[in-house]
C-alpha cells in the first residue's frame, strides 16, 4: 500500500510469526520424556491407572475445549462421541472380528460424520439453545442404544478375552502399561494437534467466530461451515478415548459409554483448568481425576458421591473466584507467547 517502507514496518515484518519460548519448549520436552520413562520406575498398578485416567480425561476435555475455546459453543453432549468411539471399536471386534486399531479409526470417522449431521441443524442455535440441544441429543443416543438389539441393547457389548494376540486384539492382560502408552500417545498427539490448530489459519478463523461472528462473516468467513469444522474436529478427538476405554474395561454398555456424567465431567475439567487455553484441560484433569480416583480408594462404595461433592464445590468456587480457570493463576508470560516489546 505504501511505497516507501518505514523502518518500523520493516522491523515488524522481521519479527517471527510465532515466538517460541525456549525454556517452555525444554520443559515440555522433559515432561513428555519423563512421562514415557515413568513406567520404568516400576510404579504401582494404581499409579499407572491414575496417570492413564489423567491422560484420557485431558484428551476428552481438550476435545470439548476445541469446540468451546475456538468456536464458543458449549456442548453438554460430548459423551456422544466417546460412546461412538467405544461402540465402534467394540462392534468391529465383537461382530466383525476386525482389530480394534481399525475400530479406533472407524470410531473417529463415524464420530466426525455424526458431528456433521448433528452440527448442521443445531450449530445455528445460540447460547443456551445449543447447550440444551446437545444435552438432549446426548441422552437420546443413550436411549436409542439401550434399545438397539444389534449392539446388545442395555447389556451392551462384551469384548471376549483374548490372551493369545495382545497386539491385534489390543488387550493387555499381563500388564496395563501398554494402555498407559496408548493413552499417552493420544495425550501428546492431541496436545500438538491443538497446538497446531492454534497457529493455523483455521485457528485464526475460529477464534474470530468465537469473539464476534458478525465481524467474522464480514471478513469473508463462512461462519456456519467453520463451526461445523470445529465440531467435527472436536468429535474426532473425543472418539478414540471411548475406544481405548472400551478395550481397557472390555465392556461397552449404554450406561458407561453415553453417560451424561462424561459430558459434564469434560466441561468441569475444562472450566476448572481454563477454557480456550491449551493447558486448561491438562491442569483440570490433573486436579480433578486424582480426587475421584483417591476418594474411590478411601471411601470405597460411597466414594462416588464424595468425589462428586468435592468436584461440584470446587467448580462453584472456581466459577465465583476464578472464572478464567486455574491457568489464570499462572503469570501471563509463562502461558502465552511472548509479546514484542
Amino acid at each position: 500500500m505504501n511505497n516507501n517502507i518505514s523502518p518500523r514496518l520493516l522491523e515488524a515484518k522481521n519479527e517471527p510469526l510465532w515466538y517460541f519460548n525456549k525454556n517452555s519448549l525444554i520443559i515440555i520436552g522433559v515432561v513428555i520424556l519423563s512421562l514415557f520413562l515413568f513406567p520404568f520406575t516400576s510404579p504401582s498398578k494404581f499409579a499407572i491407572h491414575l496417570m492413564m485416567m489423567i491422560f484420557m480425561h485431558a484428551v476428552m476435555a481438550q476435545s470439548w475445549n476445541v469446540l468451546a475455546g475456538f468456536s464458543g459453543q458449549i456442548s453438554l453432549g460430548h459423551a456422544i462421541f466417546f460412546g461412538i468411539g467405544a461402540y465402534a471399536s467394540a462392534y468391529f471386534y465383537v461382530k466383525l472380528h476386525i482389530t480394534p486399531w481399525i475400530g479406533i479409526l472407524a470410531g473417529i470417522g463415524i464420530s466426525g460424520f455424526v458431528a456433521m449431521l448433528i452440527g448442521i441443524p443445531i450449530l445455528r442455535l445460540k447460547g443456551h439453545y445449543f447447550a440444551i440441544a446437545t444435552l438432549l441429543i446426548g441422552i437420546s443416543f443413550q436411549v436409542v442404544f439401550q434399545r438397539w438389539p444389534e449392539v446388545g441393547s442395555s447389556s451392551g457389548l462384551w469384548i471376549p478375552i483374548n490372551r493369545d494376540s495382545p497386539w491385534t486384539s489390543m488387550q493387555f492382560h499381563k500388564s496395563k502399561v501398554a494402555y498407559y502408552y496408548i493413552s499417552l500417545i493420544f495425550f501428546v498427539g492431541s496436545f500438538f494437534l491443538v497446538w497446531l490448530l492454534n497457529r493455523s489459519k483455521l485457528g485464526y478463523r475460529l477464534r474470530a467466530i468465537r469473539d464476534q461472528s458478525d465481524a467474522a462473516s464480514s471478513l469473508g468467513i463462512h461462519v456456519s461451515k467453520y463451526k461445523i469444522i470445529a465440531f467435527v474436529i472436536s468429535a474426532m478427538i473425543m472418539a478414540p478415548m471411548g475406544s481405548i476405554y472400551a478395550q481397557y474395561v472390555l465392556i461397552v454398555d449404554p450406561n458407561n459409554a453415553f453417560n451424561v456424567d462424561i459430558s459434564i465431567l469434560v466441561l468441569l475439567i475444562s472450566v476448572m483448568g481454563g477454557v480456550g487455553n491449551i493447558w486448561g484441560p491438562i491442569i483440570g484433569s490433573a486436579i480433578l481425576i486424582p480426587i475421584s480416583e483417591f476418594s474411590r480408594i478411601y471411601f470405597g462404595g460411597t466414594g462416588r458421591s464424595i468425589d462428586l461433592i468435592v468436584y461440584g464445590v470446587l467448580i462453584i468456587i472456581i466459577c465465583i473466584f476464578r472464572p478464567a480457570g486455574i491457568v489464570s493463576l499462572i503469570p501471563r508470560s509463562f502461558r502465552e507467547r511472548e509479546k514484542a516489546k
Binding site: H128, L268, V275, T302, R304, S305, I309, G312, I315, I316
Partner: protein, 288 residues
C-alpha cells in the same frame, strides 16, 4: 386401538403436563429475571420430594399438609442459592453460569446419594390415593389432585406476577434491570425473590409428585429436561408460555408413548424441542 385409550392417554398427558408446567414456570421466571438457566432445577425438585418424604417418614405429616413447610424450605434454599452463588456470577460469561449451576446440581445429587442412599422410596398410604372411573376412563387421584394443585399454584403465580406490587416490580426488573433500579426497585432483592418463588413452584410440584412417584436422588433429571424443553417452547422468560408448553409436552409424552413406542417417550419430547428451536428459535410464544 379404541378412542377411549387415546382419551385416556390424552388426559393423563394433560395431568402430567400441568405438573411439568409449574416446574417450568419456576425455571422460566428465574431465567426471565437474570438470563440464567438453573441447571440444578431438577435437583431442587428432588430435594422438594425428599422434603415431603422426610416430613412424612419422621413426623407422619402427609405430603399435602407439608406443602407450606416444603415451600418455606425451598424458598430459603432459593434465597441462599442466590446469595452465595448466583449473585456472584451475574456478570460472568454464560459458560461460567452454566458451570456454576451444573456444579450445584452435581453437589445436590451427590449429597442426596450420600445422605439418603440411591434407594427408591415411596410414601405409603398417603391421604390422596386410589383412582376412579368416568365413562371407562381411569384417573388416578394423586395425579388428578397434583395437577389441580399445580394449576392453582400456577394461577396464584400468575396473579402474583401481574397483579401485586412485588410481582410488578419483579416484571419490571425482568424487562429492564437498569430502568427498574432507577425507579427504586433493588434488583438484587428482586433476584432473591425470583429464586424464592421459582423454587417454591418446584416445592409444590415436588410435594404433590411424592404422592405417587418414587423418590430417589436422580428423580429430578428427566423432570428438569422436560422443564428445559417447556421453557424453550414457551419462550425463555414467558410464564404463560410454559403452561401451554408443559401441557403440550405431557400430551406428546403420553400419546406418543401410546401410539409409537413407550420406551422412546423421552425422544418424542426432545424431537419437539429440536423441531421448535430449529424452525422457530424464539419459542412458540416469544417473550411475555
Amino acid at each position: 386401538m379404541t378412542s377411549q385409550v387415546i382419551i385416556q392417554a390424552l388426559i393423563s398427558g394433560i395431568l402430567m403436563g400441568l405438573i411439568y408446567a409449574l416446574i417450568a414456570a419456576g425455571l422460566s421466571l428465574i431465567f426471565g429475571l437474570m438470563e440464567i438457566v438453573n441447571f440444578a432445577h431438577g435437583d431442587h425438585l428432588m430435594i422438594s420430594m425428599f422434603s415431603a418424604f422426610w416430613f412424612w417418614m419422621l413426623f407422619g405429616i402427609d405430603p399435602i399438609f407439608s406443602i407450606p413447610l416444603t415451600i418455606l424450605l425451598m424458598a430459603a434454599i432459593g434465597v441462599a442459592t442466590h446469595y452465595f452463588i448466583i449473585r456472584k456470577i451475574l456478570n460472568s460469561t454464560m459458560l461460567v453460569q452454566i458451570c456454576a449451576t451444573f456444579g450445584l446440581a452435581v453437589v445436590l445429587r451427590a449429597l442426596a446419594q450420600l445422605l439418603f442412599t440411591p434407594d427408591f422410596r415411596t410414601i405409603k398410604n398417603p391421604i390422596i390415593q386410589g383412582k376412579f372411573e368416568i365413562l371407562g376412563i381411569f384417573i388416578g387421584k394423586p395425579q388428578l389432585y397434583a395437577s389441580l394443585v399445580c394449576l392453582i399454584a400456577f394461577i396464584l403465580l400468575y396473579f402474583f406476577v401481574t397483579r401485586t406490587e412485588a410481582g410488578t416490580a419483579l416484571q419490571a426488573t425482568s424487562q429492564d434491570r437498569q430502568a427498574a433500579e432507577i425507579l427504586g426497585i433493588p434488583s438484587n432483592k428482586m433476584f432473591a425473590l425470583g429464586w424464592a418463588i421459582g423454587l417454591s413452584c418446584v416445592a409444590v410440584a415436588g410435594s404433590m409428585l411424592s404422592n405417587f412417584y418414587y423418590v430417589f436422588p436422580d428423580v429430578g433429571v428427566n423432570f428438569s429436561l422436560f422443564a428445559f424443553v417447556a421453557v424453550a417452547l414457551g419462550g425463555f422468560g414467558s410464564i404463560t408460555g410454559s403452561l401451554i408448553a408443559g401441557i403440550i409436552i405431557g400430551i406428546v409424552e403420553s400419546v406418543g408413548g401410546l401410539l409409537i413406542d413407550p420406551s422412546f417417550k423421552l425422544l418424542y419430547v426432545f424431537a419437539v424441542y429440536l423441531f421448535v428451536v430449529i424452525v422457530r428459535p424464539q419459542g412458540i410464544f416469544g417473550r411475555y
